[in-house]
């Protein structure tokens, strides 16, 4: 299964939940903490952490497409 990740940066509230859950996939900008997507097609072993990031993101700023 492929998992494609998209982030909606203007929605991001810089909570850092995603960075704590999946640091291989998400980071934050230094100045304002907005999300940086490091890997938009993460490997399978990271899928659970990425899904959890999307679920708990307090801004619903992470969108996933599975194919």
């Amino acid at each position: 299964m492929n998992l494609k990740v998209e982030v909606d940066v203007p929605k991001c509230v810089a909570s850092g939940q995603c960075v704590m859950l999946a640091p291989e996939v998400f980071d934050q900008r230094d100045d304002d903490g907005m999300v940086i997507l490091l890997d938009d097609t993460p490997p399978a072993e990271l899928h659970d952490a990425v899904r959890e990031s999307a679920t708990v993101c307090p801004a619903a700023a992470i969108r996933l497409a599975e194919s």
């Binding site: 810089a14 850092g16 903490g33």
Partner: protein, 402 residues
């Protein structure tokens, strides 16, 4: 999940269709629950996000189309039995049914209570509150040059609304009974920083001023005088929506009382603003009205309903946007004994402050600081770090001045 719970848990009912309820539904499906999930919500719309209501929706930066928490396709994929526009009227735990306001009974094997809170109101004439999208749009239509607004309550919601209204050119009076806004939550010194920001933006902040009622053309103050305003927003906190649980045998005490697993009773779990649970990380019972907690607790409640038996021990997180300030805080700041600024300065409104409760590090609050300077503190709070140890490891110079 244990086989036994999966076998007996065919029908899950989630009462409350906002962030906590939605997250619970999503987590149930992801964890392999194939039975029915009924999602009951009192608003007509599919789950939407509330924090932008007092920010981007109120200032007009976003339209309501930006608010849905999930796309229609994502919701469809969850296969939910949705009952929007209906409230839960009562709970029968013997028959295991939820009675809805439209008279229908919904049977359950597992129940998640995520009914949230509603705004407290003042007696007298009608006034605006700010909880729903309709509330935000109604208030937005009353803001702008030539208009005046009285905001009752300088908590986070009142402060955000006052900031947006002032930025839009509204003449704003902000009324607060305490001598320093938010002092009980974030400390007096930082409360004064936020108070000064209101004054700098032309808001008439009146502290030490209670409001007794809403009157035609304003609000009556506790000295009997009237503060005039075309529009009144009452932002004096909220009450948990637990009336429908009265008589159910569940414990209600400023929220639905839950244990460290978010369980209120066997097969009944609480999540989000309505749930008062025992957070083992801080060793205290808490009810947290923050967006991040709604999602995290919705997830925890769903997992535990399925048999995970994991204590819910989060570090709460909240943020608030006021004027050009982005305020971010991790931890449980309420009841703190000491606040110390370890980076930056209060007068620049660019600083990082940490909180001590007893002998431990209990919180961190930052304005205008990079996330990488906040995260080590967040980790230390999550680890239950002692105050002295955390300071010497993360802010040796601040410790030296102690």
């Amino acid at each position: 999940m244990s086989a036994s719970s999966a076998d007996t848990l065919r029908r899950v009912v989630i009462v409350g269709a906002s962030a906590a309820g939605l997250t619970a539904a999503e987590t149930l499906r992801r964890s392999g629950h194939t039975g029915t999930i009924t999602l009951i919500g009192d608003e007509p719309a599919a789950p939407y996000d509330r924090p932008p209501l007092s920010k981007e929706i109120l200032n007009g930066a976003w339209g309501p189309d930006r608010l849905p928490l999930r796309t229609e396709a994502d919701l469809d994929a969850l296969g939910l039995d949705t009952r929007y526009g209906r409230t839960a009227a009562s709970l029968d735990r013997v028959a295991r049914t939820v009675l809805l306001s439209d008279g229908t009974e919904v049977p359950y094997d597992g129940l998640i209570v995520a009914t949230g809170v509603r705004p407290r109101r003042l007696p007298g004439a009608p006034a605006h509150t700010l909880r729903t999208l309709d509330d935000a749009l109604a208030l937005k239509g009353r803001l702008g040059p030539g208009r005046s607004l009285a905001v009752v309550g300088a908590g986070f919601l009142g402060a955000e609304a006052a900031a947006v209204a002032a930025d839009l050119g509204t003449r704003v009076t902000l009324l607060e009974p305490a001598s320093v806004p938010l002092a009980h939550a974030i400390g007096e010194d930082i409360g004064r920083v936020l108070a000064q920001a209101h004054l700098d933006h032309g808001v008439a902040l009146r502290t030490g001023t209670g409001v007794t009622e809403v009157v035609s053309g304003g609000v009556r103050l506790d000295d009997g005088s009237v503060a005039e305003a075309d529009t009144v927003l009452v932002a004096i906190g909220s009450r948990p929506n637990t009336e429908w649980l009265t008589g159910s045998g569940l414990t209600l005490d400023d929220g639905l009382v839950c244990d460290e697993f978010c369980a209120a009773a066997p097969g009944v779990y609480g999540a989000g603003d309505v749930a008062r649970w025992h957070n083992p990380l801080f060793g205290t019972s808490m009810r947290v009205e923050h967006r991040t907690n709604a999602a995290e607790q919705g997830m925890a409640a769903a997992r535990n309903l399925l048999g995970a038996r994991q204590p819910f021990a989060p570090v709460p997180y909240f943020w608030s946007d006021q004027y050009d300030m982005k305020i971010r805080a991790y931890g449980y700041l309420r009841g703190h004994d000491e606040v110390r600024v370890v980076e930056g300065s209060l007068t620049d409104r660019k600083f990082l402050a940490v909180y001590r409760t007893g002998e431990r590090l209990s919180g961190v609050l930052a304005i205008g600081m990079p996330p990488k300077s906040i995260r080590p503190w967040q980790r230390s709070i999550a680890a239950g770090a002692p105050w002295g140890g955390a300071l010497s490891a993360l802010a040796p110079s601040a410790e030296a001045t102690a």
